[in-house]
């Protein structure tokens, strides 16, 4: 067990925990931030995607000990009122079916748009290919990313 000071969604959180614990479970079990989802545990599905700094990472593969000073943003902290342009676009296009994968999709998409505000189809596909949607909402996800691209505040 060890103590970690984590910067999550703009707040400092202290956890006393086994250093090998992946951030996914720190978030879900210890900090009750359950928006970040468990889908595979082996970096294959993207359901657990969070931002580490500005990068989209798979939190199931990120041990708490590797986080250090870096800022973590989860779906709960992406925007204050749930109105990030990507979230808005997701609602406008009515993307979700079951919704389980969507937090991860949104975190991948928002990281993509931050570094590349106007991605091509190929760039969208390669950035999003790590996120599985079992319900098959890919055509809508693509449309929503294009809707969000180039909007204020991406």
């Amino acid at each position: 067990m060890a103590n970690f000071n984590l910067k999550i969604n703009g707040k400092t959180q202290v956890v006393d925990i086994d250093p090998t614990t992946p951030m996914l479970w720190v978030l879900r079990d210890h900090l009750k931030l359950v928006g970040t989802k468990y889908g595979c545990g082996i970096a294959q599905c993207g359901a657990c995607t969070v931002h580490l700094g500005d990068n989209a990472v798979r939190s199931c593969q990120l041990p708490v000990s590797a986080v250090g000073e870096q800022e973590i943003t989860t779906i709960e902290g992406l925007s204050e009122n749930g109105d990030h342009p990507v979230q808005n676009a997701w609602m406008e296009i009515d993307v979700p079916q079951c919704g389980y994968c969507q937090a991860g999709q949104i975190m991948s998409a928002s990281a993509l748009l931050k570094r590349n505000p106007n991605p091509s189809d190929e760039e969208i596909e390669s950035a999003m290919n790590g996120n599985i949607c079992r319900c098959g909402t890919y055509t809508r996800i693509k449309k929503a990313i294009k809707t969000a691209a180039n909007t204020e505040g991406v």
């Binding site: 989802k37 997701w90 599985i132 319900c135 890919y138 055509t139 809508r140 693509k142």
Partner: protein, 753 residues
Amino acid sequence: MTKINTHIGRRAFIRNTSLASGGLVLGFSFLNSCKPEQAKETAGMEMPKEWFEMNSYLKIGDNGIVTIYTPNPEFGQNIRTSMPMLVAEELDVDWKNVLVEQAPYHSEKYGFQFTGGSRGISARWQPLRMAGATARHMLKEAAAQTWQVPVEEIIAEAGVLQHAATKKSAGYGEMASVAATLDVPEEVQLKEVKDFKLISSSQKNVDAKRIVTGAPLFGMDLQKEGMLIAMIVHPPAFGMTLKSVDGETAKAMPGIQDVVTIKSFKDGFEKGGFDTNAFPELVAIVGNSTWEVMQAKKKLNVEWQPTSAFSETIAGFRGKETRNVPAGLESTTAHKAQMEILAAKPGKIVRKDGSPEAAFKNAAKIVERSYSAPFLAHNSMEPLNAFAHVEGDKVKIAAPIQIPAFIIPTIASSLGISQENIEMEMPRMGGGFGRKAYAHFVVEAALISQKVNAPIKLVYSREDDLTNGIYRPAYQATYRAALDENNKLTALHVKAGGVPESPLFANRFPAGAIDNYMAEEWTIDSNITIGAFRAPRSNFMAGAEQAFLDEVAEAMDKDPIQFRLDLLKRAKENPVGEANEYDADRYAGVLELVREKSDWKENDTTLHRGVSAYFCHNSYAAHVLDLRMENGKPVVEKVCCAIDCGVVVNPDAATNMAEGAITDGVGNALFGELTFEDGVPQKNNFHQYQMIRMKEAPNEIDVHFVQNEIDPTGMGEPPFPPVFGAMANALYKATGTRYYKQPFITDKPPLVG
């Protein structure tokens, strides 16, 4: 107007008199953490001071806000939006003044709370509209009494009651307190389709905001004071069972509370059709957090032993049936060999019209082709999980589950408590696809909670979910067509079977369209558990049949759409036999619509396109799929789809579902496969089990609905089965090779015939 007697849903309209002052009190609400989210979301909506319960589906606030309790569990078809729309339409309220809450499991109040078989909307079509219509009628009565005017002169529209002659007007909220005390009318009038204002207009998903902000909606998200995490360890292979466990090392690991064994069925319990469970004896490990339990799970020393063969009687949907479960460790290669043997022998004849034998004997040409498909795992994005808290002779459950009613008797028997003492909530499911209809995991959670005497959440790892499956069976079908010297189709013969179930639908198209027809089936017993998977059996038969018809059309030198339409014309004008399940007109309707919308041209060589159409769940779907090959891999450019599912309640949501079904079909046709070796599933996570990803998804999906006034039929499943045939037929156009064996694309050279 249609007058409908309310007795069909009368039970639901009996209010709980102890709540006469209003306010429906639900048993318990575990997802309390959802509430602030909802409050935030409805900030623009002023909450009423008092609620008046009109019936179990709806209550009206003194300010006119309406809460609708949606009865069925949600797994992504968006019924949490479309079901309340049915109530709101007949109540005639402004949709923006409606709040939706999930009803708990309560069969007396809410009837059969079943999500599956594409029956959600069709089963609720009348009762939910009636719930709205009776409440509206009671509001009118209340206004009539208050204003002392005849009820026939009251108009109730958009949440407002009006009496023109006296110029009186009141919001529903103002009349709700009186209305809630009135008798439920014996009969109500439902609107006619042409008068619908809300139904058939696209409404956004009521949960969209909660989903995109990561609110705790799913069973997996549940947190409760004092709750422990449990995981199970199941045998590594089908055909194995628990022998012994040594949990000492695991128990000594940090955060671990207990290691227990559970037995899911009491001896002598008569199973129902959804009690499928390959591994009723399990080891469970319980601890403080998921990660700790996952680590300790690896340290368990468990010994397994082979099972013995047995026979059991199941009280299924269609009465009692006997299942034979063999012993042994099964393999895909052995299954394939057995399937070939049975496919070559006569099967059990299920339907025979005319004299197919003679027709084949006299044929100038016979086309014979065989098709096969492997086991498939559901792989819902949310792995199986369940919360249970047993306290004495009572249990509280919250689980992502498709058919709560079917697991209640099992839970009661296994825990040794009475059915009335089971309280159950149904959080949103992160996908179901049929898998969450088999709720053994809920029984397991309850038994673990009982053993460790604490609230627990049972969490399946992805590996547990994939390897303790209730899979789509492996199937095989051989089709034969007889053509005479004029190249006319004279007979059709289908023989189909599977491990362990036959996929045959003997009375579906093209039965009824051909004078000489024969359908046979066979099965092979297995100890690998199987169950419903999006459009069971249809999901294979459609692909085989529609690929075969394509080849027959080619042999007859006919356009594939025209060929199908000609057969349907025959089936309509002069049907063969009486048991035909489909409506030839509606079938032809989707083919004609897809022909028009896809801009289909006969002998078009500019595009690689495949067509396919199928009937299931009382609906009709036809697809035209366009693809091109890129580096030896198919890229699906566009799928044009036509569906006839009667009245479409929420068109954009239905379109989303069709898009999902098509994408799901493309993925499973190309990659979906689970194989077995010595009883062991050969894939246990997504690094091995290929799921469709954005790159392989169709670039464009264009969905069209046939416009009619027929009561709604199935929607979640029907667009899925035809994808397999459309894909096979388009692949043929693109590669010149016919594809007979699913999955069509594997890392190995494609197994083409």
